[in-house]
């Protein structure tokens, strides 16, 4: 497991996190006794069926939701508890599932939005840093003046990642970013994300349904149970970095996948059946 030296901070510890929603009196337990640790600079993937509380967890860390019980530590300092709900901030930036670039701003305006709004950089300095980052992340600087609506979904996703990294976040939160993509663009995005993670080592929380994607990208894969969400098991990914697609055919990879696939499949079936029972 590689701990990138530059990432001095960004360590995250989730201690017996619990979340209960109360829509109209029917208490829904989304998270219960959810515990795991992510070292600074580590790429952690969370895999689980829909409705297992993955997004709830992400929302709590990002500051869009609050804990009912338990606590979350950021760099060993208590950060979120049932009493304290941290506001969203540039130290924990989210890349959203359906993309959230501002369609009315150009690519460049989107990317410099964070630092300029926080007055961390002057407009000029932000522009230079943005162009440099865009160039290093797949030559996106050529699209600086264009609107998100004119880009392919893959390019939009890359710009959104750059917009997040511009704020030097302690934790980068990715909420199923490649869900709507087909094999071709998904494979390209995996390669891109791994390159960007090598260039800018940050702690990453990657939420996904796709076990294969999780193992291929992450240092550690956490499998969540269906609701109420708990960590069912953790898998240390033994593939070295930089990762390449032919590793997907290696024995080490297949062995790891076999260990976890049965669990993931079982949770998926339970969620599927419960989903249909609830609709009946």
């Amino acid at each position: 497991m590689s701990t990138a030296t530059e990432a001095r901070h960004g360590g995250l510890s989730v201690r017996r996190a619990g979340k209960i929603y109360d829509p109209g009196g029917a208490a829904v337990v989304a998270l219960e006794e959810c515990t795991f640790d992510v070292a600074p600079g580590e790429f952690a993937a969370i895999v689980g069926p829909s409705g297992c509380g993955k997004s709830t967890l992400l929302n709590i860390i990002a500051g869009f939701d609050r804990l009912t019980s338990g606590e979350v530590l950021l760099d060993d300092a208590p950060f979120a508890t049932s009493a304290i709900a941290p506001p969203p901030g540039p130290d924990r930036v989210v890349v959203f599932q359906n993309g959230a670039l501002f369609p009315w701003m150009s690519v460049l305006e989107n990317v410099i939005y964070g630092p300029t709004r926080q007055q961390v950089l002057t407009a000029h300095a932000a522009r230079d840093k943005a162009m440099d980052m865009l160039r290093r992340c797949g030559g996106l600087d050529t699209a600086a003046e264009r609107f998100p609506g004119q880009l392919s979904s893959g390019m939009q996703r890359r710009v959104e990642i750059v917009r997040a990294l511009m704020n030097e976040p302690r934790v980068l939160l990715l909420d199923e970013p490649f869900r709507a993509m087909d094999t071709v663009s998904k494979a390209a995005m995996h390669r891109h994300l791994l390159e960007v993670h090598a260039l800018y080592p940050k702690t990453v929380i990657f939420i996904t349904h796709d076990l294969e994607e999780a193992i291929y990208l992450a240092d550690t894969v956490y499998v969540m149970t269906t609701r109420p969400g708990r960590i069912k098991r953790a898998l240390r990914v033994s593939l070295e970095r930089p990762r390449s697609r032919d590793m997907l055919a290696s024995q080490a990879y297949l062995e790891m996948k076999r260990q976890v696939a049965a669990d993931v499949h079982e949770e998926a079936r339970k969620a599927f059946e419960r989903g249909e029972r609830e609709l009946a």
Partner: protein
Amino acid sequence: MSELTSPSSGHIRVDGVSKRFAQADGGGTVALEDCSFTVEPGKLTVLMGPSGCGKSTLAYLLAGYLDLDVGRVTIDGVPVQGSGPDRMLVFQETALWPWMSVVENVMFGPLARGVMSRQDARREALELLAQFGLGGFGERYPKHLSGGMKRRAELAQALINRPKVMILDEPLRGLDVMTRELMQEYYMQLFERTHCTTLFITSELEEAIFLADRLLFMSPAPGRIIETMEVDLPHPRGFETMETARYLEIKRRATDVLNQSGAFQEV
């Protein structure tokens, strides 16, 4: 499971089909160019290609929704004329009629052609829905069903008409990976029960290999069939088939084909 289709019929031959869409300003885009292939009766043929390569156009041509101006399409030797219940297409976006209950959706075909009384149609529709795990949902409106359930209702809606050929246009697109894997298993079990000649269209490689008896690769637009590959994975196939060495071997060869076809460059 009542015998739904006769596996011997449903042989499709497609020769030199091209399709050009004229645009208002006089220009035009070529969706398909000299597309030729066959679909064996009783087999599950998968059509695999990058997004935007004309797969849906081909599906609409086979179903008779678009006019065939260049090339020939025959089913069991008979040239295709317009659309009919012998070739049922399941669209990418669910096309269940939202204002009809699920059972009414399924009964529509037999009643429209007057081949069944209302009671027989209802009985058979409910029986079919039950076999597809939608027993209690007959009277519900489609919008009350989940994505996977709507797909199964659409299959019932098509299969009640005993089609010679089932055409499925990326039916699992948009479902999350886990539901998708469950539905792939479901289709396989359904095919292994009915052996209805099927043309399954997808842009997902693993899905294509898992389902296919025969795999057709389409080039990027304008779409042509550039490679055919027999998939001799044993039946019944299940979730664990994807772990076997044979599957990985086929997957490696298929990936090479996709790379050569230039399908992998960023669209």
